[in-house]
């Protein structure tokens, strides 16, 4: 098709123009730039998180994370609202129950997944991962649960509560940093503690727990909304 080949040509032109220059100018860096140097050298003493990425994302540049949470909140609001089944046409039990295998597997996997998710976000300052990843894992657990027990009824209200409160606490911690420490989202109003221990890095574990709870409950909420056999409880 003429049109498509024109588009292909255009895309190619775009690629050549943009990346030709960028790749040519790109040099494998020899040493860290000043920002990275600062973070890597001072993070341990300033924040005390083993995972520098976490310190950057939660403390130094915590506004990014707040933005991410906001984006997920917006997306979840819109998805939850529009994918919700209309009350009137709700067949209470339309789907066959999940298979035996699924049910059994879920009994093992669901608690394990939830614990894994919690572990990931609680240890966000020590190991890779954090609130988002942990939350997503929790969401997956709920998905498993929903798939295995289509008739299983969980009150979505609980998730709404967890989501709202954890979100609010996150913002409140941010403001606490502003009021008690150096600035908004400064996590150092709690003691830095000992490096590599669970209760270290100031308020980072707290923040990541809140994010994990929020993201997990948001995703779970969406999944439950989507689960057709789930009677509407609100």
């Amino acid at each position: 098709m003429l049109k498509n080949s024109f588009i292909a040509l255009l895309v190619l032109a775009f690629g050549v123009l943009l990346f030709h220059g960028v790749v040519k100018l790109y040099k494998v860096p020899e040493k860290l730039n000043r920002t990275a140097e600062f973070y890597n050298s001072n993070e341990a003493s300033q924040i005390g998180a083993a995972n520098v990425v976490t310190a950057v994302v939660v403390t130094y540049r915590g506004l990014y994370t707040l933005g991410e949470v906001t984006v997920l909140f917006l997306a979840a609001s819109v998805i939850g609202f529009f994918l919700k089944r209309k009350k009137k046409t709700a067949p209470v039990d339309a789907k066959p129950a999940g298979s035996e295998l699924m049910t059994t597997a879920s009994k093992v996997l669901v608690p394990g997944s939830i614990i894994l998710g919690v572990y990931v976000f609680v240890n966000g300052h020590l190991t890779p991962g954090g609130g988002f990843q942990g939350g997503a894992i929790i969401g997956t657990a709920i998905l498993l649960l929903a798939l295995a027990n289509p008739t299983y009824s969980i009150s979505k209200k609980v998730f709404h509560w967890i989501e709202s409160i954890s979100g609010f606490v996150f913002v409140a911690i941010g403001l606490a940093g502003l009021l008690l420490a150096g600035g908004f989202l400064d996590t150092r109003f709690l003691p830095n503690g000992e490096m590599l221990s669970l209760f270290s890095a100031g308020a980072i574990p707290l923040i990541y727990s809140m994010i994990g709870l929020k993201v997990g409950s948001e995703i779970s909420g969406i999944i439950l909304e989507l689960n057709d056999t789930q009677p509407n409880q609100d």
């Binding site: 130094y60 819109v78 409160i165 996150f170």
Partner: protein, 1040 residues
């Protein structure tokens, strides 16, 4: 200073917490959101207060207690305070305007709106380049969510197009942000701005950042998605997109341009192309919201180019940008909110606002503000912009800006015209809800207040220019009163004004005294005729006074700025006066377009003047040296559109003829003198400059030809008021010709003609208007024999045409006498002959006028008609007295005039000797002629009276028709098409070639617009291709 992080805390904290309330507590959650938005306003206003009143200094607030670039900084300075104040006010009122949409189970709408506005605040405040990306995406998702809640038919597909476009654009931004980091190891804007020389990588990065922000601002042609959003989404959301998001993105662009001085030219080009193209394509748009979209894109394009002009404008940059931005912000939001009140989005549906005059007035305010009329901020913005561009010799940019503005004026005024004139019965009525009304009212009031405040601050605008405007506002508030009360107030106001302002000018400046006198006395006299109207005459007095206020400001102006101010006010007022007539809409529009075109020519001329004199004193025109020809030509064209010189005249006949009976004399006898005054100012300046003699020569020819064509065309009219209108064109041609002679005698001629034209054209238009009110038609062949029923009118017309034709003894003769003297002295024999010939033609139409209307056979249906209203008769006879006085004692007026003109032309052959006026070519005595002619007249009258006793009277029906009733009145009126023979011989001169030319031009423009908008196929993917192509083309441009 309140930390900006509280905005984040309040916005997000509340949005998250509201999940607890659930669906049932919708009302309380709405109230909480309202409180939060209020607190946003409070915070940003507190900053504003601190910067304006306490001279606070720019402060950066760091996150996490570290310094940037290791943390994120939010900066609060005056600019940020202003922008966030605008955005937060918009947020508050947007929420109010969407109040009812919250109800239908849309409990998530409120939090999303709150987050949207919080995101916009952060975009303004943040100094971190990547943080901008985050909040760009937050606003995009929030806006997408808002659109999704919308029940309008095509909102969803429009929203999807928006989402895919913004996904592509924000990825470009992301790449730019990341490359910035890799190139210099910092995402802190101030760091990048502090770089002395950027690495190539940084340049590519900055290029991508700016490119993506420009794409967010919807440049032509990569903006189809935006147009669809404007059209498809709820207008209340359109208001947010256009006003709040548009302003934010513009500020962001301005902020990031701190790193990208090398892209200024790109911004100028892209902005102006968008400005012109979208205003062009809007010409053929019939959907109101899409039209607003085009207009938004145009305005934003203009501001983009202003951002590119930052270095060129220097100190004035912020002023210009802010003036135009604030106008766009307030007016566009207001217009979208108005649109939200209507069910139909056809342009013509806006006519229903006619029933709610408040809304109609708001509509008018928004339109006039957008086009840049005074007293709105954009007027000062455009003025300063043009002046500064001229000063820096960017003439092409001036031309581009004025062309774009002109195109914008065309469709906006046509739209306003629909609202004022089109039949509204087929459209649903507006139901005014408080939550829809409050935002519009507030923004309209803010617009007006900001304009008046600006006028107060602006150097070069005298404070006195504001009082009339405030008075007009007061009159508008009294619009519910009956007409006679408002009429009395208006007359009193004009009289008071004349009493206060006029007398000092007699000593100070006679020229201005005369023109002010014409406006003041003419205004009072024509207003007296207004007593003839019953009822309330809604809307008449504010606009009539607006015109007079403009005229007065114009004459009093000491600076070019206030001259232009007055010129525009006068144009606005007269436009509204003209379109009051029954069939005058298209004429009103063409009047407005010629006026605006002319005004832009004047603006360009004044701008070029300022560029070399650095002075806005109106006298500085005389010291023009560079480009003098161009400047004077531009100014001349501007003034000639008002005096309707040949080629620029096609608006006048319709506009004057279709206006109301007492409006025609206002716009003919009085308003046209504004153009004459302008020409006087121009000629005075030109007189001192030998370089531009050729322009005077050309103007002389234009004047002569205008006189000829005007008079000929008048002779072929069957419509009495059109006849008078063409006669005005011709008379103004005389004046132009006389002025162009650039001599003492020539200017004497012009002055005498101006005074005379004022008096006799007022008499004729008032009388014919009064007759029309009685007989109900303009067509002369439907009248006839009215001398029997309307002797008062007959005498008035008789005096009027004697004065106009220039035969002794009335004052028209004085004009002729000076005219011949001046021509002989100047030696313009050929042109003089043309004017002389056209004077003969004038006899034809004057004869036709009085014969067709008053002589011949009285029509059956007019047998019981009464004489003209006493309220018309009073001003008419006062003016007749004036003519008589001027005719009997011309030297009382002429001698001071002559003395006044000697300040420019000291050598003159004219001398005054008692009753005699001498020149090189002869002498003349007004009083003597008057006495002689009166004696002859009385003798003749007596003789006729003696003869008439032998006359046998014949009944009318005996001779006119035997048994048939006339089916077509025109065939039974002997003077119908009376000059058919002449038409065969000379008709080609008046064939509407000029109208045809203008029509062809406009057809061409319209077809270009039709063709051009085909690129907007409505396919979201095609829009993406446009964006990609835009990027590729920009790349190629920068590679060169």
């Amino acid at each position: 200073m309140v930390s900006p992080y509280f905005l984040l805390g309040i916005g997000l904290g509340l949005a998250f917490l509201l999940g607890l309330l659930g669906q049932k507590a919708r009302k309380s959650s709405s109230i909480l959101i309202l409180v939060a938005l209020f607190s946003f306003v409070g915070i940003s206003f507190s900053w504003l207060w601190q910067f304006l009143q306490e001279n606070a200094s720019v402060t950066q607030f760091f996150s996490a207690g570290f310094k940037p670039p290791f943390s994120i900084a939010l900066q609060v300075g005056l600019h940020e305070a202003v922008l966030t104040s605008m955005i937060n006010v918009m947020g508050l009122f947007s929420f109010v305007s969407l109040w009812r949409n919250m109800k239908d189970g849309n409990e998530k709408l409120g939090p999303i709106l709150l987050i949207l506005f919080m995101g916009l605040n952060m975009l303004v405040l943040t100094r971190d380049i990547f943080n901008v990306f985050v909040f760009l995406e937050i606003t995009a998702i929030a806006l997408g969510g808002l659109i999704l809640f919308d029940e309008k038919k095509h909102a969803r597909s429009a929203g999807f197009k928006y989402l895919i476009a913004s996904a592509l654009i924000s990825t470009i931004y992301l790449l730019g942000a990341v490359l910035i980091y890799f190139s210099n190891g910092s995402l802190y804007l101030d760091d990048v701005m502090a770089l002395n020389n950027m690495s190539p990588m940084a340049i590519v990065a900055v290029f991508l950042l700016i490119l993506s922000l420009v794409l967010e601002l919807k440049p032509f042609p990569a903006n189809g998605w935006a147009l669809d959003v404007y059209q498809g989404a709820n207008p209340a959301i359109g208001a947010i997109v256009s006003a709040a998001i548009g302003s934010t993105m513009l500020f962001l662009l301005y902020k990031l341009m701190g790193m990208a001085a090398f892209m200024q030219e790109f911004l100028i080009a892209v902005g102006l192309i968008s400005f012109i193209a979208s205003n062009l394509l809007a010409l053929v748009q019939k959907n109101a919201n899409r039209l607003l979209g085009y207009s938004s894109i145009g305005q934003i394009g203009l501001i983009i180019s202003i951002i590119g002009l930052k270095d060129i404008l220097g100190d004035q940059f912020l002023f210009v940008a802010f003036m135009i931005l604030i106008t766009h912000f307030l007016a566009k939001a207001g217009l979208f909110w108005l649109s939200a009140m209507l069910k139909s989005d056809e342009l013509k549906a806006w006519s229903v606002f006619r029933k709610k005059s408040v809304l109609l007035v708001l509509f008018g305010i928004f339109i006039f503000a957008l086009i840049g009329f005074p007293p709105f901020p954009s007027f000062y913005g455009k003025w300063t912009l043009i002046i500064n561009l001229a000063e820096t010799h960017n003439y092409y940019l001036i031309a581009a800006i004025l062309i774009g503005s002109f195109l914008e004026a065309i469709y906006l005024f046509r739209w306003l015209g629909y609202a004022i004139k089109v039949d509204f019965t087929e459209y649903d009525e507006v139901k005014i809800n408080w939550e829809k009304l409050i935002p519009v009212l507030t923004f309209g009031a803010l617009l007006l207040a900001s304009g008046l405040y600006m006028a107060h601050l602006m150097p070069g605008i005298e404070d006195i220019t504001l009082w009339p405007l405030l008075f007009i506002l007061a009159i508008y508030l009294l619009d519910f009163l009956p007409a006679y009360i408002k009429n009395t107030i208006s007359i009193a106001a004009l009289a008071y004004f004349s009493f206060i302002i006029l007398p000092p000018y007699y000593e100070k400046d006679l020229l201005r005294f005369i023109f002010l006198g014409i406006f003041a006395i003419g205004g009072i006299l024509t207003l007296i005729a207004g007593y003839a109207y019953k009822g309330k005459r809604r809307g008449f007095y504010p606009v009539a006074l607006l015109m007079y206020a403009g005229l007065i400001v114009l004459i009093q102006a000491e600076t070019t700025l206030s001259f232009f101010f007055g010129w525009e006010i006068m144009t606005a007022g007269s436009y509204f006066l003209i379109i009051r007539g029954k069939r005058s809409m298209e004429h009103g529009l063409s009047y407005m377009l010629f006026s605006i075109g002319g005004a832009y020519a004047i603006l360009a001329g004044l701008g070029l003047t300022f560029a070399q004199t650095h002075n806005i004193d109106i006298l500085s025109l005389a010291s023009v040296t560079v480009h003098a020809k161009l400047i004077f030509l531009l100014l001349a064209v501007g003034f000639l559109t008002k005096t309707a010189a040949l080629g620029l005249h096609i608006w006048l006949p319709g506009a004057h003829a279709e206006a109301e009976s007492d409006v025609s004399p206002m716009v003919s006898a009085i308003l046209l003198k504004a153009g004459v005054f302008g020409l006087f100012i121009l000629m005075i300046a030109m007189g001192k400059n030998p370089e531009v003699a050729s322009i005077a020569y050309i103007l002389g020819w234009v004047g002569a030809l205008t006189a000829l064509v005007g008079n000929l065309a008048a002779a072929f009219q069957e419509d009495a008021k059109r006849l008078l209108a063409y006669s005005s064109i011709a008379q103004l041609g005389y004046i132009l010709f006389a002025l162009a002679m650039m001599s003492h005698l020539g200017w004497m001629t012009a002055m005498v003609y101006s005074l005379n034209h004022f008096m006799y054209k007022a008499i004729l238009f008032l009388t014919i208007g009064a007759v029309v009110l009685r007989v109900g038609t303009h067509s002369m062949y439907k009248m006839g024999g009215l001398i029997q029923r309307m002797p008062l009118a007959f005498i008035a017309v008789l005096v009027g045409i004697i004065a106009l034709s220039g035969v002794p003894p009335l004052s028209g003769f004085a004009g002729k006498w000076f005219f011949y003297n001046a021509v002989l002295e100047k030696g313009w024999y050929f042109q003089g002959a043309i004017v002389f010939f056209s004077g003969i033609v004038a006899f034809l139409y004057l004869f036709k006028l009085i014969y067709s209307v008053f002589l011949g056979q009285l029509k059956d249906n007019l047998r019981q008609v009464k004489d003209i209203s006493i309220w018309f008769a009073i001003p008419i006879y006062v003016l007749i007295l004036g003519i008589m006085f001027f005719s009997a004692k011309p030297e009382w007026v002429l001698q001071p005039l002559s003395d006044m003109l000697t300040q420019w032309y000291p050598n003159t052959s004219l001398s005054f000797d008692g009753l005699y006026i001498n020149s090189n070519f002869g002498y003349w005595s007004g009083t003597g002629v008057m006495i002689t002619i009166m004696i002859m007249f009385i003798v003749l009258l007596l003789w006729l009276w003696i003869l008439s006793r032998k006359v046998v009277k014949v009944k009318q029906f005996n001779i006119v028709y035997s048994a048939e009733a006339p089916q077509r009145p025109e065939t039974t009126h002997v003077s119908y098409n009376i000059f058919a023979g002449y038409y065969k011989a000379l008709g080609w001169i008046v064939a509407p070639k000029i109208s045809e030319l203008w029509n062809k031009i406009s057809d061409f423009v319209v077809s270009v617009a039709h063709f051009g908008r085909m690129i907007y196929t409505g396919n979201g993917q095609t829009y993406l291709v446009h964006i990609l192509a835009f990027i590729v083309v920009t790349f190629l441009w920068f590679l060169n």
